[in-house]
Amino acid sequence: MEAVAFYIFAAIAVVASLLVVGQRNPMYSVMLLIVSFGALAGLYVLLDAPFTAVTQIIIYAGAIMVLFLFVVMLLNVEREDSATSVATMVGPTGMKLGAGLSVLLAIEVVWALSRLGESHFGHDAETVNISSVARIGQALFTQHAFAFEATSILILVAMVGAVVLARRER
């Protein structure tokens, strides 16, 4: 049953991501990316991490993608009409770079598939009784406290920067 759910979510995630790049209308690309994030959230639930799944929806699909949507809507990004072929658009260096990256991707896929079955994550005795949220909280505020504080300052800097950039000159 879980395998069926995994394949469904994984298929949705892959197909939606591929369609994101293949769309002419940028609004459709944004909506398909949201569908892809929803499928990812489903995969997180299958991995027994409901908190991560819900946080993915709240932050990524619910806030960041709204930002993307506003930008695409308000800047009136136009439909792409492919009049020229890919080869003329990227030129010979682009074609060589693309070929190299494709080879790299193929090697990665083969490597990942060869590692099927090895899993370093599992249930140990202490994770059974605490809910995932409490466990994440404990790890975040004790072991990773420095990273947490640094991220908070980074977000604060981003917010202040956004407000400053958006002010009109008085």
């Binding site: 209308n25 609004m27 459709y28 909506m31 949201i34 409901p50 908190f51 819900v54 946080t55 929806i57 709240i58 699909a61 619910g62 806030a63 709204v66 949507l69 506003f70 809507m73 308000l74 809910s131 995932s132 949220v133």
Partner: protein
């Protein structure tokens, strides 16, 4: 092939909850018109059914027979999908709300099932996540209609919903701190018992400011008066649903009323003790839940027809400069009290 009674019970539960939500939207249409009428010193619909109670069904039948219009320059796919997203998000948010204790259906089932569609241990975040998805329905409706009224209304509505989501989340966070859990069922169970024998242990008494913040943010989230500037009839024709007619329009309104019911149901679970109440046996306690939700819905309707509408810049200023700091202070005070009193 024998059918597992637990699965039948779960399907029955989903059926009951779905129908309850649809009927409550119809009920809200009637309630709104009657309460509005009595506040305005008149009677309201009283021809169709007893005291006009069948009026919403007449309205639905009328809407079904109207012509389904679509502007020619509208983006076909997104125009159709937008009300579907709104309605689905509204219904999905109710799936984690508990409305009763565990029941064995008078001994028909071997193990008791809790009276809610699913029991997730991050239930509050699920509601919040699905509420954020509801923004997309509105934004897509406004953009895909290809009309300036719709676009402006949609942008204003989306900005308003996003701004008030912050105060909403902070009010929720204070309750989570008090209860120590994200599951709605555990939060309600934490409110069992009485102080001094007769005052129920509701979080309303521990968090009065939090309750007010939550209700204000909830009203703003559902785009209801006095925060309904995006739908303001006088200024924007009808905002993001200007170009919609017939059942798509009905879907938007269904979504709005079901969102109201969800906000009231969450407020009941968090602050008013959910289904808990004296005297009734366990299997009837969902009656208390319905009564409390009804009380909050009546409050919603009462507010709409009593208060004047906020102007958009007043609305945004209030949300960012007054409500958000109040929610943060509430969170600090709750954290201090929880640490100090243990």
């Amino acid at each position: 092939m024998s059918v597992n009674p637990t699965i039948v019970a779960h399907l029955g539960l989903i059926f009951v909850v779905f129908n309850m939500l649809v009927l409550s939207a119809a009920f809200m249409v009637w309630l709104e018109r009657k309460v509005c009428a009595y506040i305005q010193d008149r009677v309201g619909p009283n021809r169709v059914g007893f005291e006009g109670s069948l009026q919403p069904f007449a309205d639905v039948i009328k809407l079904m027979f109207k012509e389904e219009l679509r502007p020619q320059a509208a983006d076909r796919l997104l125009f159709v999908i937008a009300p579907i997203i709104s309605a689905c998000a509204a219904f999905a948010a109710f799936s984690v709300i508990p409305f009763g204790t565990e029941t064995t259906l008078f001994g028909l089932l071997e193990e008791p099932i809790p009276l809610q569609v699913t029991d997730v241990n991050v239930a509050i975040l699920v509601i919040f996540a699905i509420a954020s998805m509801g923004v997309y329905g509105i934004v897509l409706a406004g953009w895909s209609s290809n009309s300036k009224y719709s676009l402006l209304g949609a942008l204003r509505s989306a900005a308003q919903m996003i701004s008030y989501e912050l105060s909403y989340a902070l009010a929720l966070a204070a309750v989570i701190m008090l209860a120590g859990s994200l599951s709605l069922r555990e939060i309600v169970m934490d409110q069992e018992g009485y102080w001094f024998g007769f005052i129920p242990r509701w979080y309303l008494f521990l968090q009065p400011v939090g309750f007010v913040i939550y209700m204000i943010a909830g009203v703003a989230e559902t785009n209801r008066a006095p925060f309904d500037f995006p739908e303001a009839e006088q200024e924007l024709v009808a905002g993001y649903h200007t170009e919609y007619s017939s059942m798509s329009f009905a879907l938007f309104f269904l979504a709005e009323y079901v969102n109201m019911v969800t906000v009231s149901a969450v407020a009941t679970s968090l602050y008013l003790g959910g289904w808990l109440g004296p005297f009734l046996p366990d299997w009837l306690q969902w009656v208390y839940f319905l009564l409390k939700v009804f009380l909050l819905l009546f409050f919603y309707v009462w507010m709409r027809w009593t208060l004047p509408r906020y102007r958009y810049d007043q609305l945004m200023e209030f949300g960012w400069k007054w409500l958000f700091p109040a929610a943060v202070l509430n969170l600090f005070a709750t954290a201090a009290l929880v640490l100090w009193l243990g």
